[in-house]
């Protein structure tokens, strides 16, 4: 453990990769929260495909495979694609998912046409062009980390400055417009921030990790909180945790690729959150259901005893457990219910083993039956 920490600080590669993935996790976690709430979860996937014609055109125009040139091309194409997606969904009845899929495939297809065109050029420096934009998390450089730090800070700062506006825009665009805010401009601003983050992520850590980093931290964070601020914070935290954690795990075993390991880390966090998050989590919900069922079972036994008591005029007469069992067909759990009721002091067991209501239990039973009648 200590060795690991020492590694994390001292080892250049691990430190760079962990810091880079961590920063990326923070930024995409924050922006991803808005993306998920605004139904743009799959934008990462779409932008990474839509970037291809941008890369190809940037290469055709400049003849350079240098990554800043390709990044600009990719960002412009990604942004144009995103803008088209927004305007298609705004001006037609076509839904977001279809617009995403359409733009993604058409842009990528056009990119292929350009690639076959580039292929026929006689010069050799085009080799691997379509892979050149896409990074791998393990190959992060210090300069990448610096870029991400600067861009990430600007993006986060803008999110803080426009917090109130982004929040109300995500919740209720119509109302936002009625207050006089320029909804379209805000929409373009927040989407552009997301596109920038995605393109930076693409060229440093690759497509699939980036797609996952937009969606997964936000989806996990959403389960733990009901406040937007907390969600954005948690999402960034989860993103950073997965980034650093994935980097560390992949540094412990050879041939364990960093990017996919980070994806598995963040996905494990999602699974954990979906199962265990208080209030929303599946296990939590299941436990609540169980508690509810127990309560109903107990109440059923109590009212059965009450009915018996009324039939036999009084609480002195004991009733064997078999009678209760036959009465409660369909809900069961009679033995456990009686035990629970006994500890509460609402029933008691007579010397002959039969059960009766106590005075206190009688009161409770009357209350329950009253409740039942008014609600019916």
């Amino acid at each position: 453990m200590i060795e690991l920490l020492q590694n994390l600080i001292m080892d250049y590669t691990l430190r760079t990769v962990a810091m880079g993935s961590g920063i990326l996790g923070i930024v995409s976690g924050a922006l991803g929260s808005f993306a998920v709430l605004r139904k743009q979860s799959l934008l990462g996937d779409a932008v990474s495909h839509a970037a291809l014609p941008g890369i190809a055109l940037a290469f055709l125009l400049t003849g350079s495979k240098a990554s800043p040139v390709l990044v600009v091309g990719a960002a412009l194409a990604g942004w144009l694609g995103t803008f088209l997606i927004l305007s298609i969904t705004r001006t037609t009845r076509i839904k977001n998912d279809s617009a995403l899929g359409l733009i993604l495939s058409v842009f990528f297809g056009f990119g292929l046409v350009l690639l076959t065109f580039i292929q026929r050029q006689p010069y050799a420096n085009k080799a691997g062009l379509d892979k050149f934009l896409f990074g791998q998390a393990a190959a992060l450089l210090e300069s990448d980390v610096l870029t991400m730090l600067v861009l990430g800070s600007i993006v986060l700062l803008l999110v803080i400055i426009f917090w109130k506006e982004f929040k109300i825009l995500s919740f209720d665009p119509d109302f936002t417009a009625s207050l006089g805010f320029p909804v379209q401009l805000l929409d373009i601003l927040i989407t552009s921030l997301l596109v920038i983050a995605i393109v930076v992520g693409l060229q440093t850590v690759g497509v699939v990790l980036m797609s996952a980093m937009v969606v997964a931290p936000a989806a996990a964070a959403r389960q733990w909180t009901d406040r937007l601020g907390a969600m954005v914070f948690l999402s960034s935290l989860f993103g950073a945790l997965a980034g650093v954690g994935g980097a560390v795990i992949s540094s412990m075993t050879p041939r364990l690729p960093t990017g996919p390991t980070i994806v598995l880390c963040i996905s494990a966090l999602v699974l954990f959150s979906i199962l265990l998050a208080p209030n929303r989590g599946l296990l939590w919900r299941w436990a609540a259901e169980q508690r509810n069922r127990r309560k109903l079972q107990i109440e059923a036994v109590l009212s059965d005893l009450y009915i018996l008591a009324r039939q036999h005029q009084g609480t002195e007469h004991g009733h064997p457990i078999e009678v209760l069992r036959t009465m409660s067909i369909g809900h069961g759990g009679v033995d456990r219910s009686l035990k629970e009721l006994k500890t509460r002091g609402w029933v008691e067991q007579k010397a002959d083993g039969n059960w009766v209501l106590t005075a206190c239990g009688m009161e409770q039973a009357i209350q329950i039956s009253d409740r039942g009648e008014t609600s019916a």
Binding site: T13, Q119, A124, A139, L141, S250, P254
Partner: protein, 312 residues
């Protein structure tokens, strides 16, 4: 709905039509009055066919300069070029991916030949866990490649027996060049100290080269383009470079240089300086018209680059 059914029926009719039409595909061609129209996949194969066929062949590579099998996207014209070809040469060993399967299937329409099919299987590299799946980068071992050239010659002779003599003569001349090339590479390699004969690149394309010329080959990630490096891989390789005091690592023309740059930075952080020795041609040759645009030129360029960087 009824319209759709009608459409299917029409298509069914048309497709039976093309079954009948395709029956006359493999009539024997007469080459006495024209050149043989050859299509190859990679530039390396095209270079070999040009040398073997000489004046008798018209060669076109589907993958031009700088186009490696991973980048290659077929264009519409390739269909006609392939359909019109008299013979298609391809590497095989799954270098061309799904295309290899197509070439195997194409036999009825056009004669196809895998260069690698003439090479004895036991001289091929295969990962121990997956026997029978071979490393396809055979052109990096000139000796092995010569077997491939012989295979090209054999196929051309079979196709155009009338000119057999020309092919035999050309082949002998080309093999002579190649064996000199092989000797040159060996000789160059000897100039590097034995403990420094380590070739480090981003992806594992140079295994045949290493085996043939006594280099230890280390790559960051495997052959598969879907594979990715892990943090540990970079750390281990950096550690290895420091321990062995390897002076240089190499980028490849078709792999983003950032992977090797990350490795270089990791080595530097360990207090050792490794330089980037240059860019090697791996899956594709250089621009047409330059020395690296031919197979011998490319091999020469690669070995010179490697040796110059490692020799210090």
């Amino acid at each position: 709905m009824r319209n759709l059914i009608r459409i299917i029926l029409i298509f069914a009719l048309i497709s039976t039509g093309c079954v009948l039409q395709d029956q006359q595909a493999d009539s024997k061609a007469d080459f006495s009055s024209r050149k043989i129209w050859v299509i190859t996949t990679t530039g390396m194969i095209a270079d070999a066919v040009r040398n073997v066929g000489g004046e008798r062949v018209e060669v076109r590579a589907l993958m031009g300069p700088g186009v490696d099998p991973h980048l290659y996207k077929a264009s519409e014209g390739d269909v006609i070029r392939m359909a019109d070809a008299d013979i298609i040469f391809y590497n095989g060993l799954h270098l061309e991916g799904k295309m290899s399967e197509v070439f195997e299937q194409m036999q009825r329409r056009v004669k196809t030949a895998a260069i690698s099919s003439g090479i004895a299987r036991d001289s091929l590299l295969s990962p121990p866990a997956f026997q029978g799946n071979y490393d396809p980068h055979i052109w990096f071992d000139v000796g092995l490649w010569m077997e491939g050239v012989k295979n090209i010659s054999k196929n051309l002779v079979a196709l155009d027996t009338a000119s057999a003599e020309i092919y035999h003569r050309n082949t002998a001349a080309y093999l002579q060049i190649l064996s000199e090339l092989d000797a040159y590479v060996h000789q160059q390699a000897m100039r590097v100290l034995v403990e420094k004969r380590v070739l480090i690149t981003a992806h594992d394309a140079f295994n045949y080269f290493g085996r043939a010329y006594g280099f230890e080959v280390r790559g960051l990630q495997g052959i598969s383009t879907a594979a990715e490096a892990g943090t540990a891989d970079i750390q281990n390789l950096a550690q290895y470079i420091v321990e062995r005091k390897i002076p240089a690592v190499f980028v490849e023309s078709s792999v983003p240089p950032r992977y090797i740059e990350a490795l270089q930075a990791a080595v530097q952080a360990r207090g050792f300086k490794v330089k980037i020795g240059g860019s090697l041609y791996s899956d594709a040759m250089g621009s047409a018209g330059t020395p690296e645009g031919s197979y011998p030129g490319m091999v020469r360029y690669n070995i010179d680059t490697i040796v110059n960087a490692l020799i210090q």
